[in-house]
């Protein structure tokens, strides 16, 4: 990409737009990536819009009916009921909301921290940059679990207090607040670990960009470091950042699921896809639908994000465009 952007800062903006247009043309050629994009759109629509509308209409994912467990699809609700007689369709939609929200929010945090930390490390370079990266290496090798448990304990008390304030002082609906409040510790914990890889990627990109002619030109014009970093280097790193972010989302969905396996997932009775699958796997021999439905959706989403991410990378990579 650097080749395409190596002229002066002014003309670069025009080239940038044409780069994105080119990329989109290439992306459209990749049918799998397009299919992935459409799948994501459909799943997002169902989880967030249909799920929300149904919820407002009074369907409750946590309402139990112990007399009516494992109802077949169509018998009770669209997809039947689970081991506690809860509507599986609603649970899958709300589980998807949680899985996707955690992954997307964690990705946003990851990108923000990664860009700032990696950008600084790459731009400054030298010894300081080296030490900054060794710290990242050290953290990266640390057991993920320690970070997750630590953050959960530190943050959850504060989040609880904030949630209580919203409920008691501003009279928000307590179910609603609690549902989303208890995503925060998990999200932050995942992001606390996830930004490290992003930081590395950004650093590599920033380091090579800061040696480019246009940056030197900016230096010679007497622009401040801050301005060079934020106005000239960071915008040029958007490509790898977007690609990586798209690929980060599925890996965070997977992290969350793995945490659920260990019992550190979302607070019951709410479920993410991870918890639904984990509990569903216990019924593999007996009631396979409670496993299959969330597992298929989960895998489809992961496939979709991965293929879209790969497609974006192909599309944004100018070398591949020579073909």
């Amino acid at each position: 990409m650097s080749q395409a952007l190596s002229s002066s800062p002014m003309s670069e903006i025009e080239k940038g737009t044409s780069l994105w247009a080119d990329a989109f043309v290439r992306l459209r050629k990749n049918k799998l990536a397009m299919l992935g994009g459409i799948t994501i759109a459909v799943i997002l629509f169902f989880c967030f819009i249909v799920g929300f509308v149904l919820k407002v209409m009074g369907m409750d994912a946590n309402k139990q009916d112990l007399a009516n467990r494992f109802a077949a699809p169509g018998e009770a609700g669209l997809l039947g009921t689970d081991q506690l007689g809860r509507d599986l369709f609603m649970r899958v939609l709300e589980g998807g909301q949680i899985s996707l929200l955690v992954a997307i929010l964690a990705t946003v945090i990851t990108v923000t921290i990664g860009i700032i930390y990696g950008g600084i490390a790459g731009y400054v370079g030298g010894k300081i940059g080296g030490i900054m990266m060794r710290i990242v290496d050290g953290l990266l090798a640390m057991p993920f679990l320690i970070i997750v448990i630590l953050f959960r304990e530190i943050i959850s008390v504060r989040v609880d207090n904030a949630a209580r304030f919203l409920v008691n002082t501003w009279k928000w609906d307590s179910d609603f607040v609690l549902r989303y409040a208890n995503l925060i510790p998990l999200t932050v914990a995942i992001a606390a670990f996830g930004w490290l890889t992003m930081g590395r990627i950004v650093r590599t990109a920033a380091a090579s960009l800061s040696k480019q002619e246009f940056v030197e030109a900016a230096h010679s014009l007497g622009l401040s470091h801050q301005r060079i970093l934020f106005r000239h280097i960071l915008p040029n790193m958007l490509g790898p950042v977007i690609i990586y972010a798209t690929l980060t989302i599925p890996s965070f969905i997977l992290y969350e699921a793995t945490l659920s396996f260990i019992g550190l997932g979302i607070e019951p009775p709410n479920s993410s896809w991870g918890t639904l699958i984990k509990e569903g796997a216990n019924f593999l021999e007996t009631n396979v639908t409670v496993l299959l439905i969330p597992a298929i959706l989960f895998s489809a989403t992961l496939f979709a994000f991965n293929f879209l991410g790969d497609g974006l990378r192909d599309a944004l990579d100018p070398k591949a465009s020579k073909d």
């Binding site: 090798a141 057991p143 320690i146 630590l150 890996s251 699921a257 793995t258 260990i262 021999e285 990579d317």
Partner: protein, 306 residues
């Protein structure tokens, strides 16, 4: 060459130092008590246990003692949760198991991922590309705790010669290794595909093709080696990670490896065990990265000079 080895060692030492330091204070900051038990622990017992393991001293003193014991006595301490067992014993029991499993699944991952990635690149944006990538991605899109039970029920049960779980027969390694290899294969396929696409667009490949070199030879003789560089870089850390981070698979298939120690060490607040594991992991990572580096040098003569 020597310079590269020395700088890797130096880097590893720095990383391990940061790693142990972070972990040391982080795990002590997590609430919970390593000596909590289903039967209540009296305050006196608690105090006695803490004194015995040196946990009653200020954290900074504990920290220096930890290093002191390692450097002067080579002692990584006793496990707090499994009393009477040394951390070094636990690791030396579990490591060969994890090494065997990790190595096999890595080999399977390579055998699956690199061909799939190559096929995908050669048929860029055509049906074989899509099919190869769908197969390759299965490992990171279907979670291990679904794949594992499915293998148990649908493969091990009907097949006489495979056990559902356990670690007593030599065939017991097969299912956990397959479950683990998919994850590796997915990343390798992706990296190989990317690397291959890169290389195939290079001028020397075009000229080789123009000169009429057979397509198969173009791939094997000219393209594959440089195309595998990113994959090789990934293999080092992947090896270290697969050895220590396979808790889910170990739990499902009853494998007495390191992953269980990692998770149970953290959840039971077994400080010494976790630190020992982390230290070991850091060193392992360093070694794996070094091997990766050397492999890259071996593959690319240009790097040898620099």
């Amino acid at each position: 060459m020597l310079k590269i080895i020395l700088s890797r060692i130096a880097q590893t030492l720095v990383v391990v130092f940061f790693l142990v330091t972070f972990t040391f204070f982080a795990i002590r900051a997590i609430p919970g008590n390593p000596f909590a038990d289903a039967k209540a622990t009296s305050p006196e017992e608690q105090a006695a246990l803490e004194a015995y393991y040196g946990l009653d001293r200020p954290k900074i003193v504990q920290y220096f003692n930890y290093w002191k014991n390692i450097v002067t006595k080579g002692d990584f301490g006793d496990s707090l949760s499994m009393k009477g067992r040394k951390v070094s014993t636990l690791i030396s029991e579990a490591f060969p198991v994890s090494l065997k499993l990790g190595f096999l699944s890595l080999l399977m991952g390579i055998g699956l991922g690199i061909p799939l990635g190559t096929i995908a690149a050669l048929y860029h944006n055509k049906l074989p590309d899509y099919l190869a990538m769908i197969v390759a991605m299965a490992g990171i899109c279907v979670v291990a705790f679904v794949l594992g039970p499915i293998f148990q029920v649908n493969i091990a049960r009907p097949l006489q010669f495979l056990n559902v779980a356990g670690w007593s027969r030599s065939s017991d390694i097969i299912l956990p290794a397959i479950t683990l290899c998919f994850g590796v294969a997915a990343y390798l396929a992706r990296l190989t595909r990317g690397g291959m696409l890169d290389v195939l667009s290079q001028d020397y490949i075009r000229s080789a093709r123009a000169k009429g070199v057979k397509p198969f030879n173009v791939i094997t003789k000219h393209a594959l080696q440089p195309a595998l560089m990113p994959a090789v870089t990934y293999l080092g850390p992947a090896f270290a990670a697969i050895i220590t981070g396979s808790f889910v698979v170990e739990n499902i298939f009853l494998v007495p490896g390191m992953g269980q120690h990692f998770v149970l060490g953290v959840t039971s607040k077994d400080y010494n065990l976790v630190l020992g594991l982390v230290l070991f992991y850091g060193i392992l990572m360093g070694i794996a990265n070094l091997i990766s580096d050397l492999a890259l040098i071996f593959m690319d003569p240009k790097l040898r000079k620099g």
